[in-house]
Subunit: 473 residues, 2 copies
């Protein structure tokens, strides 16, 4: 008799409690649906998206939660309907985000992770995954160039949180009393980052009680790189005002232009003024794996911390983001975040407690994000990774706009071209690419090439599709 006999009163339909034949058949049926979806996703003759407006999509299918349980067959229908309206992010013509494509080894690893269904907080409940995180973080630190892979780190739910960790650590290192006494116990802190940096730096500052106004945006050159002389000028200016500069976030691979800030020059300035240097390599960090391109990150080995998202350029399934810390103060991350919960991190356990990594996290429970990266790493030769021009930003000038003389009128109309073409693209479902304005530049397409399935022909297709959809504008 089961304790929860009444929990699953639909259990004649869905045993779900043991590995019986019916259960296994159900899982296999789901897998068959998924395998068919994968084949379809890579097929260029299929749509990237079967687009519907939100209200329409809400009505096209019954998505409601009722009190009546569905049968197994209904559940399979729900799975099919979900996939029908999902974006095919594996499609060779899907270019919409920095994370695109679907790696089969990564996918297999994620299926295994779901099946193991455990939590990263202690070695006790995730022995293998904790060790794989240990092995992988060490390897990543070696690749950065930190001596013997020394230091610390953690996999976090995305680059924004990794960046927030870095800011938290920088603050704690300078003013450890902030943990107990809060921001009212410390002087006014200021952080610096380029005007092209990711919005998560400001978001982190808002959350941590530092305030977005204390994030000083440094000028970037026309290619999107931070200008070191402007950084130093602003640091000096802040100090003159009595503020305490505590954090510089340089970007390795900006979101829009894909620019790499000059890390060596920035690190010299950070050293001179005693400021924590963080490198946000969420996008471009993976170039450390490339013999040909890693020079773009020269100087990263001088940073105090680095964000590196294998779920972007390395095509690991979502999510997989690492924060890596070159810890001069031993155990900084642990002492910054630990709360000594005695129900999890008992000090009288029988194994080496340094493997209970949970208390250095902001999270309590933490999803296993490591296995997909580790398994893909075993399967591939990352070092030969040689992307070029991953971010390409461009305008499409439709025939009707080409000879417009009035510049204001021309820019006003050009601003509407990308959104219009993008909307049409989604309605046709043939391809997807991103667009945006930047500073005084009106809307342009931001083409990011990180989909491993894409070929030159797919890029040609995109260009032709933009022309086809925009020729009347």
């Amino acid at each position: 008799m089961t304790l929860h006999s009444s929990v699953y009163s639909s259990s004649d339909l869905l045993p779900a409690l043991d590995g019986d034949l019916k259960t296994l058949n159900f899982l296999q049926e789901v897998v068959d649906i998924l395998l068919a979806y994968i084949v379809e996703s890579f097929d260029r003759s299929t749509k990237v998206i079967d687009f519907h407006y939100p209200n329409e999509l809400l009505q096209r299918n019954n998505w409601e939660l009722s009190d009546e349980p569905e049968t197994l067959d209904d559940i399979l229908i729900s799975c099919r309907a979900t996939l029908k309206y999902a974006i095919k992010t594996a499609h060779p013509r899907y270019f919409n985000q920095l994370s695109t494509g679907l790696d089969m080894v990564g996918l297999a690893a994620d299926w295994l992770t779901s099946t193991a269904n455990t939590n990263m907080f202690t070695y006790e409940v995730a022995p293998v995954f904790v060790l794989l995180e240990y092995v992988t973080l060490k390897k990543m630190r070696e690749i950065i160039g930190w001596e013997n892979g020394r230091g610390d780190g953690i996999f976090s739910p995305g680059g924004a949180i990794s960046n927030m960790y870095a800011m938290l650590l920088a603050r704690y290192k300078m003013f450890p009393e902030v943990k107990e006494k809060g921001m009212s116990s410390v002087p006014k802190l200021v952080a610096f980052t380029s005007e092209h940096s990711h919005f998560s730096i400001k978001k982190g500052a808002a959350a941590l009680g530092i305030g977005t106004e204390s994030v000083i945006c440094i000028k970037a050159d026309e290619r999107g790189k931070m200008i070191p002389s402007d950084l130093e000028r602003r640091i000096v200016e802040a100090k003159q005002k009595g503020y305490v500069p505590f954090f510089v976030s340089a970007t390795a691979g900006t979101t829009v232009y894909g620019a790499f800030d000059p890390l060596i020059a920035i690190s010299d300035i950070c050293k001179k003024y005693g400021i924590w240097m963080h490198v946000d390599g969420a996008w471009g960090g993976s170039l450390l794996m490339s013999r040909k391109h890693r020079w773009k990150l020269n100087g990263v080995e001088r940073a105090n911390s680095m964000t590196w998202n294998p779920h972007k350029m390395m095509a690991v399934p979502l999510q997989c983001s690492a924060l890596l810390v070159r810890e001069e103060v031993s155990g900084l991350m642990q002492s910054c975040n630990q709360m000594h919960a005695c129900y999890l991190f008992q000090q009288d356990k029988h194994y080496d407690l340094s493997y209970d990594t949970g208390d250095k996290a902001l999270q309590c429970g933490r999803h296993v994000d490591i296995f997909k990266l580790w398994l893909m790493w075993r399967a591939k030769v990352w070092r030969v990774f040689t992307p070029q021009h991953t971010n390409v930003c461009f305008w499409y000038l439709p025939p009707g706009l080409r000879y417009v003389e009035d510049k204001v009128e021309k820019m006003k109309r050009l601003h509407k071209v990308a959104p219009t073409i993008k909307a049409r693209m989604m309605e046709y479902g043939t391809t997807m690419v991103s667009y945006q304005p930047q500073g005084d530049k009106v809307n342009f397409f931001r083409m990011v090439i990180s989909n491993p399935a894409a070929t030159f022909e797919d890029i040609d297709f995109l260009i032709e599709e933009i022309e086809r959809l925009g020729q009347d504008l």
Copy 2:
């Protein structure tokens, strides 16, 4: 010709770029391994854990990352090795955490989620999942008792982050200038929670720059419930000192005892003093689904926010945590966290932008955690969920300790009993249960019954196993 032809130079071994037969066969082989693991996990004659100490486990297998790619066969071997040393969290005798068991519909849903491999930040790239989150959050708010399911919410990477969101919102609602100007612009804030509450409240306060000393711990009664009169006394005291009480976190289902704070009395106090009331129902929130037990959360409908983790009592695979907000100020979450990134949240898109939920998150990219909950909800009759005594804390008094007269000596020895038995339990691998001390109570076992596969016989087995392993102590 592929753009990344050299990326996967091992691609003769692992095409991984399209849905060809070799790829599908590989995936099916992985699925076969996973299905066999599932059958084994539910088999009581297998071990819960094949335990090895960290250094030993590091040496038992080659986990290293080399520069040489593995073959497909090697990859399958790595999968098998990983599962061999993983904890069988689905095993009917695994009781170690609040999250236990493995639901087959939830697992299928997680496999689908991995295959769809997308990101929750915009409707554009996750139309179905964004709608399912919308539908499910609304349903959860209806169940809480908020009028017409009105309000806001988000799925976050775990209860600790959900609680942190609540604290962030409470602070922002009272002092919106904190977003730009930081904590130095506001008076000294204080938060209140019971001494039995989860450590994430203090962890959140540390991160947000509030400081752990500004979290005032309210006394709990002998059953672990917050004492409302002590809460009011401490609020008055704080106000007299010139501090500003801004946040009370009541707990619905404490981590150790499973106690429910008296929400109605607490809400009266919060209302009287104008304080944001949060309910941390990470563990006990799911009792709202039970007609018989939902009275334990009476008053939750008066709260401003609630954390509710379906990955705990509802057995949804990890991770699945919701923060729900009864938003009086419209768009509070959005205005608290938004940064208007123009590469993601373009305002000139062609669909209803209220479905682009990403800017209200602390994260940028956000994993799809909704589908497993939604699909399980469709498959089950949650409402008949009737757990009883989910947390049972007890000591085991070995024969040799029963007649020890010296109380100090007895407690000192009793303190070592649970860790010793737990260590032996793991070495035998027969079952797993948690232990801890609490206040002046020496180490006791904390038995949590949330594994749907467990029967009365499994509980009997645990008790007998504790006796067997502890009789010589």
